[in-house]
C-alpha cells in the first residue's frame, strides 16, 4: 500500500496531490482537528451541488421566487430532500466554521507561518456568513423577508456610512426586487467564485506551513498519507454525509407563508447567527453596538497572531495547564456577567429614562457595566495567577466567544413577543 508504483487516475491523483506523501502520525489523530476543516469543505461541495439543482428551478423575482420553491419541493424528484440538505448543510456550516476557528485558536495554530492563514480563515468566515445571509432571503417567505429587513436596518445604524451601505446592499430604501436580485447574484455567482479562490489559498497556506500543528515536535513518526489519513478522511466524510442526509430526510427546511411587505410578524428577528449582534443592539446604543464594538473586535482578531509565542507552545491545546483553568474561569465569568447584565437591563435599569444624552445613558453606562467587571477579572488573572500575554489573550477571546454564544442563546430562544424576555 502507498507504493509509488500504483497508478492512479487523474482525478484520484489530483486529490491525493492535495496532501503530502507522508504525514506526522500525531497530526492525523481525530482529537487534533476533529476533521473540522474537512467537514467544511465537504459541506461546501454538498451546498454547491444541491444549490446547482435548486438553481434550475429558482426564479429570482418577488412574484415567482416563493412559488418556484414550493413547486420545486412538490414536483421535482427528491425536491424537498435536496432543499432540506441545502438548508441544513448551510446551518451546520456556520457552526462548523465557528468550531474550526475555535480549534485553531485554542490549539495555538495561528502563529508565525500560520498567521496569514488565520486572516484568510477570518475572511472565509465572513464569506460563509455572507453566503448564509444572502441565501436567507431567497425563499421570499415571511421569515426571510423580515429577517433581512431587520438586518439591513441594523446596518443603517452604523454611523456615517450605514445608510449608504444598507441602501447599496438592498439596491434601494427597502427590501424589494432589487434586493432579491442582488442577493441572488451574490449567492450564486460572486460568493462561489470568491470562496473558491480563498479556499484554494487557505489550503495552499496549510501545505506551506507544513500541515497541521502538532504539540510535540521532536518525536516525529511519519506515516503514509494513503491510507492512514485518507481512511480517516473518508470516515469523517461519510459520517458528515450520513448526518446531513438523515436530518434532511426527517426535518423540513422552514417555509412560512409568502412574504408580505405590509405585515411584520411579532417578533421579527435577524437570522439566528446574527441574533447575538441584534441582542447587542437591544442593550446598547447603536454607535457602540454597530461601530465601536465591531471595530474593537476586528482589531483584536487581527492583533492576536502578531503576538510572539514560544516555539514549543505552538500546537498545544489551551497553551498550558494554567491556560486550561483560565479558560474555564473565563467561560464562567462571561456566562454569569452577560446573563446578569441582560436581566438587569431588561427588568431593573431603564437607562433611557435618565435625563442625560442617550449615548451616555444607554451606551457608555451599560458598556462600562460590562467592561469594569471584565477588566477586574483580567487584572485578577494577571496578579493572582500570574497569567502571561498569551493566557490573557485566551481569557479575553474566551470571554468574547462565550458572551456572543450567550447573547445568541438569549436572542434565539429567550426572546418572544416584541423581543421581550419570555419569563
Amino acid at each position: 500500500m502507498g507504493n509509488d508504483k500504483i497508478k492512479h487516475s487523474v482525478l484520484t491523483g489530483f486529490l491525493l496531490h492535495l496532501h503530502p506523501k507522508k504525514v506526522n502520525s500525531e497530526a492525523i489523530k481525530y482529537t487534533r482537528t476533529f476533521g473540522l476543516g474537512g467537514i467544511n469543505i465537504l459541506l461546501f461541495v454538498i451546498l454547491a451541488f444541491t444549490g446547482l439543482l435548486l438553481r434550475f428551478s429558482y426564479m429570482p423575482t418577488p412574484e415567482r421566487a416563493y412559488d418556484s420553491i414550493v413547486s420545486f419541493q412538490n414536483n421535482t424528484l427528491f425536491g424537498s430532500l435536496i432543499r432540506n440538505i441545502h438548508h441544513w448543510s448551510a446551518m451546520f456550516m456556520v457552526i462548523t466554521t465557528f468550531l474550526h476557528l475555535l480549534r485553531v485558536f485554542y490549539s495555538q495554530s495561528i502563529y508565525y507561518e500560520r498567521k496569514k492563514n488565520w486572516y484568510y480563515g477570518l475572511i472565509l468566515l465572513l464569506v460563509v456568513l455572507a453566503f448564509n445571509f444572502t441565501g436567507y432571503l431567497l425563499p421570499w417567505d415571511q421569515l426571510s423577508y423580515w429577517a433581512v429587513t431587520i438586518m439591513t436596518n441594523i446596518i443603517e445604524y452604523v454611523p456615517f456610512v450605514g445608510e449608504w451601505l444598507a441602501n447599496l446592499i438592498r439596491g434601494g430604501e427597502i427590501v424589494n426586487e432589487n434586493t432579491l436580485l442582488n442577493f441572488y447574484n451574490f449567492h450564486t455567482a460572486l460568493l462561489p467564485i470568491l470562496s473558491t479562490v480563498f479556499v484554494v489559498l487557505h489550503f495552499w497556506l496549510i501545505r506551506k506551513a507544513k500541515g497541521v500543528t502538532v504539540a510535540n515536535n521532536n518525536e516525529q513518526k511519519m506515516v503514509n498519507v494513503n491510507p492512514a489519513l485518507i481512511s480517516k478522511e473518508v470516515i469523517v466524510a461519510l459520517f458528515t454525509l450520513a448526518v446531513v442526509i438523515f436530518i434532511g430526510l426527517f426535518f423540513n427546511a422552514p417555509l412560512l407563508e409568502k412574504a408580505n411587505p405590509m405585515v411584520s410578524p411579532n417578533p421579527s428577528k435577524a437570522p439566528w447567527y446574527f441574533l447575538g449582534f441584534q441582542e447587542l443592539l437591544i442593550n446598547l446604543h447603536p454607535i457602540i453596538a454597530t461601530l465601536i464594538i465591531p471595530s474593537a473586535l476586528t482589531f483584536f482578531f487581527i492583533f492576536i497572531p502578531k503576538v510572539s509565542i514560544k516555539n514549543e507552545k505552538v500546537g498545544r491545546w489551551f497553551y498550558s495547564e494554567k491556560g486550561k483553568r483560565i479558560i474555564v474561569y473565563s467561560v464562567l465569568f462571561a456566562v454569569v456577567t452577560t446573563s446578569l447584565l441582560i436581566l438587569i437591563l431588561e427588568y431593573w435599569l431603564h437607562l433611557n429614562k435618565l435625563d442625560i444624552p442617550l449615548f451616555i445613558s444607554t451606551g457608555i453606562i451599560p458598556l462600562f457595566m460590562y467592561l469594569i467587571p471584565a477588566g477586574t477579572f483580567i487584572f485578577i488573572l494577571k496578579k493572582k495567577l500570574k497569567a502571561d500575554k498569551i493566557e490573557l489573550i485566551l481569557a479575553l477571546a474566551t470571554i468574547i466567544f462565550t458572551s456572543y454564544i450567550v447573547m445568541s442563546f438569549v436572542g434565539i430562544w429567550l426572546r418572544g413577543e416584541a423581543m421581550h424576555l419570555i419569563f
Binding site: I150, G172, E173, S264, N266, S268, H420
Partner: protein
C-alpha cells in the same frame, strides 16, 4: 521601487478602481431617478374629515388629519428596524419590537429613538398629493410640519 514594479502597481491600481467603479455602479443604477417625481394621489380634500387617520397601504403612509385641520403623511416604516407600524389607540405601535408612537409620530416608548418619517404633502386642483419617494427624517414633531388646506 523598480520601474517594472511601479508600472505593475499603477496598472493594477487602475484596473482595481475601474472594477470597483463598475461593481458599485451596477448596484446604483437600479435607483429610479426619473420616476421620483411621481406623486401619490390620496384623494379629494373634501373627502377627508378632521380628527381622523386614513391608512394608505400602497403608498406606505398614514394620512392623519388633526383637529385644527393640519395634515401629516406619516410613514408606516418604524424608525427602529424597519417593520410596519400599526394604528393603536391614538397613535402607532410597532409589532416587531414594541416601539410606540403618538398621533404625530413622536416616540412614546423605545427602542425607537426617532419620530416616524413624514412625506411632503402637495395640494393641487383640490386633490391631496403625497410625495412618497422623499421621506423627511425628523427628530420630533413641530407645528411647521403640518400642511393646511
Amino acid at each position: 521601487m523598480k520601474r517594472r514594479n511601479f508600472f505593475k502597481k499603477i496598472i493594477l491600481g487602475i484596473v482595481g478602481i475601474e472594477t470597483g467603479y463598475l461593481v458599485f455602479d451596477s448596484f446604483k443604477k437600479k435607483k429610479k431617478k426619473a420616476v421620483s417625481r411621481d406623486l401619490f394621489e390620496a384623494g379629494r380634500i373634501d373627502s377627508f374629515e378632521k380628527n381622523r387617520m386614513y391608512p394608505f397601504n400602497s403608498g406606505k403612509f398614514y394620512l392623519s388629519v388633526f383637529e385644527n385641520g393640519g395634515m401629516l403623511a406619516i410613514s408606516i416604516k418604524c424608525t427602529h428596524l424597519g417593520c410596519i407600524v400599526q394604528p393603536d389607540n391614538d397613535g402607532f405601535l410597532c409589532p416587531c419590537h414594541a416601539s410606540a408612537f403618538d398621533k404625530h409620530g413622536e416616540v412614546v416608548s423605545p427602542p425607537a429613538t426617532r419620530a416616524l418619517d413624514i412625506f411632503p404633502i402637495v395640494v393641487s386642483d383640490g386633490k391631496i398629493l403625497v410625495d412618497t419617494n422623499s421621506p423627511i427624517k425628523r427628530k420630533g414633531f413641530k407645528k411647521s410640519q403640518l400642511t393646511f388646506v
